[in-house]
Symmetry: C2
Subunit: 348 residues, 2 copies
DNA sequence: CGCCTCTTTTGAAGCGCTTCATTTAAACCA
DNA sequence: TGGTTTAAATGAAGCGCTTCAAAAGAGGCG
């Protein structure tokens, strides 16, 4: 009945607000962006007009005019993987301190979508991009060596070191697991994981191998799997049983999921048990690693910290795009639990 | 040394491309948006200039000028919860068919951040928003009844039905679980979950209660917990043991995590086992529900379908914002597994 | 009261694009 | 070949904002 602003129909612009408040366009802009430049009375007038009209600033116009953006894009390889969610959380935490927002795009393990998402963010003119690919997918990117948008890599090293990046020392992680088992008195180790062409898997294996080699009397073999999911762990478990229980007294699994699969199969054998007969370590500190029936000793990747460090590197890069790319390597941490320590370890 | 375009320095604009190709600005635009209006030869010239200069269209400018956007915002309550990731996947699948992109923002269970994220997307002038809140958080939104951006709700019903929405029939899910247990011959049921003020939990309980009431001879009690994580399941398990094993012969857990916790505790008791002594159902079809040592019978929420339906509703709304809000309720599905069927059920 | 300084406010230019009324070139037909 | 259609290309207007030089207003002081 009245002529109150229509309900969310046409979105009011700054000009509408200015007219309604009886001030100039620039004053509205200042009220929002440089309030200290606007007299108290004026500011109040403007703010109440904004409220009354339900004005919402158009960020597309803002960033076009200002030539910068306050959002950062985060390209994640797989939202189903909690490691990437941790990265997102860490990045968000760090960026929120600088009043920046995070837009996440999910590539869902598909390299084509990763490229598409990268392009999407380029077009959107976000302030910067944090790219967390799955292994070697970046190679497929169209402008791998020279992206216009400031970019930081997580979990994968730029072959040319053209980008700043955050990685975790996978070799050290593998070594940590093997050393832990050896320290517990185990001698006949087996590494379970694959495929080997996955950089992370291969480095974990190399680390485990080296650590074992450094210890006379200990030996390690490898059982290559086709993936690192629970299913692959179960398959591997059956193969191990076929080789005869007692062939190995410890397993370094390439992932927590593999470890869970192994335990499910091995624990089915009467009179055989984890960890007394075979101690097992996982990798990733998957949420369920600590929650499963037999809490799994694991190597923890500092996902949140990686995200936070990546955010910091990105902010540096945005501030000075010309500076040399700085790379950070974080150390994984061993979290011993029941699957190696047995009853010595209790939850909580 | 040469004056080739500087490496990713200043981003070339359409005007640069036009100059380089020796055509008018509008022609470049047409090459990109209405190629059929441009002569073959011209188009090629433009395209090669684009490639040569490394031109990337500025979407902020595009959507400002065009007055529309090709991205949809997805506000997720908790990326750590695979249910929400499923929703994202479904929405993406549906929107990709219409060449629309999805930007995800994570509220991380914080209602304030949810509001902030909503505002962020409003400002970004995305084409529409799919909001998947955790329970009743929407009530905190500043303009709950009248958002300017087309919005669709997932997993939570708009109190005033002002928005289209997709929900799942939680009551039916609870009934499904209870009926299943009763059909297996169980009679002394217990519902474990909480807190009750969570709509979903309460409705699951109501459904279970009604289904049980419909069956003479069967009874159901409730054990309210403070949350629906594994920890809460373990706590509840200890309480149940304190009441004496045998008090109940079946449990309807409000979530898979609770079910896992319960099983961990109950299975520790010698001579007592799931499901022979107590059958247990979970809820959510969490990824680990089928992968845990005792695969858990569960009620599956069609997360991906919910996301896809939400996307369709949103597209409808974008096309005709004035149309009445349409709401869709999907039915959950019971997935019987070992935790109720025992050895009758085998993985795969 | 008048002059000078500091604070506010103004409004036009321009960010990079889409659109569309015009102009120009090509194609067709008698 | 001249006139008419149709296809292609042009370029100015304008999307909603930030910026900034310039104008206006407010104080301050002798």
């Amino acid at each position: 009945m009245t002529d109150t602003p229509p309900h969310g129909r046409t979105k009011p612009s700054m000009a509408d607000v200015a007219a309604h408040a009886g001030v100039a366009l620039g004053t509205v802009s200042n009220t929002l962006n440089n309030p200290e430049k606007v007299r108290e009375a004026t500011r109040r007038k403007v703010l109440s007009s904004i409220a009354e009209l339900g004005f919402v600033r158009n960020d597309a116009a803002r960033s076009l005019a200002a030539g910068n953006s306050t959002s950062v894009g985060l390209v994640l390889a797989d939202l189903g993987n909690s490691f990437f969610v941790d990265i997102a959380r860490g990045a968000e935490r760090a960026l929120r301190r600088h009043k920046m927002d995070v837009l996440i795009v999910n590539s869902d393990v598909d390299p084509d979508r990763e490229v598409h998402n990268l392009e999407l963010l380029d077009r959107s003119r976000v302030a910067g991009i944090i790219l967390a690919p799955l292994d070697t997918a970046l190679a497929k990117s169209p402008h791998p060596e020279n992206r216009a948008t400031p970019t930081v890599l997580v979990n994968f090293e730029s072959p040319s070191l053209a980008y700043p990046g955050v990685t975790v020392d996978e070799r050290h992680g593998g070594a940590l697991a093997a050393s832990h088992l050896i320290a517990l008195g185990r001698r006949r180790l087996l590494f379970v994981g694959g495929p080997r062409f996955l950089t992370a898997v291969n480095q974990r294996w190399e680390g485990a191998e080296q650590a074992t080699a450094a210890h006379p009397g200990a030996s390690i073999e490898i059982l290559e799997t086709r993936g690192v999911n629970i299913r692959h762990g179960r398959d591997a478990g059956r193969q191990i049983l076929a080789r005869g229980p007692g062939t190995y007294d410890a397993i370094v699994a390439a992932s927590d999921l593999v470890a869970i699969g192994l335990i499910q199969i091995l624990n089915e054998v009467p009179g055989f048990s984890v960890p007394s007969d075979i101690a097992i370590t996982g990798y990733d500190n998957n949420h369920f690693a600590s929650e499963s029936a037999i809490p799994i000793s694991t190597v923890s990747q500092p996902g949140e910290e990686m995200g936070a460090v990546a955010a910091d590197l990105l902010l540096e890069r945005i501030a000075d795009p010309a500076a040399a790319a700085r790379s950070v390597t974080l150390e994984p941490r061993l979290l011993p639990r029941t699957s190696t320590l047995g009853e010595m370890w209790r939850r909580d």
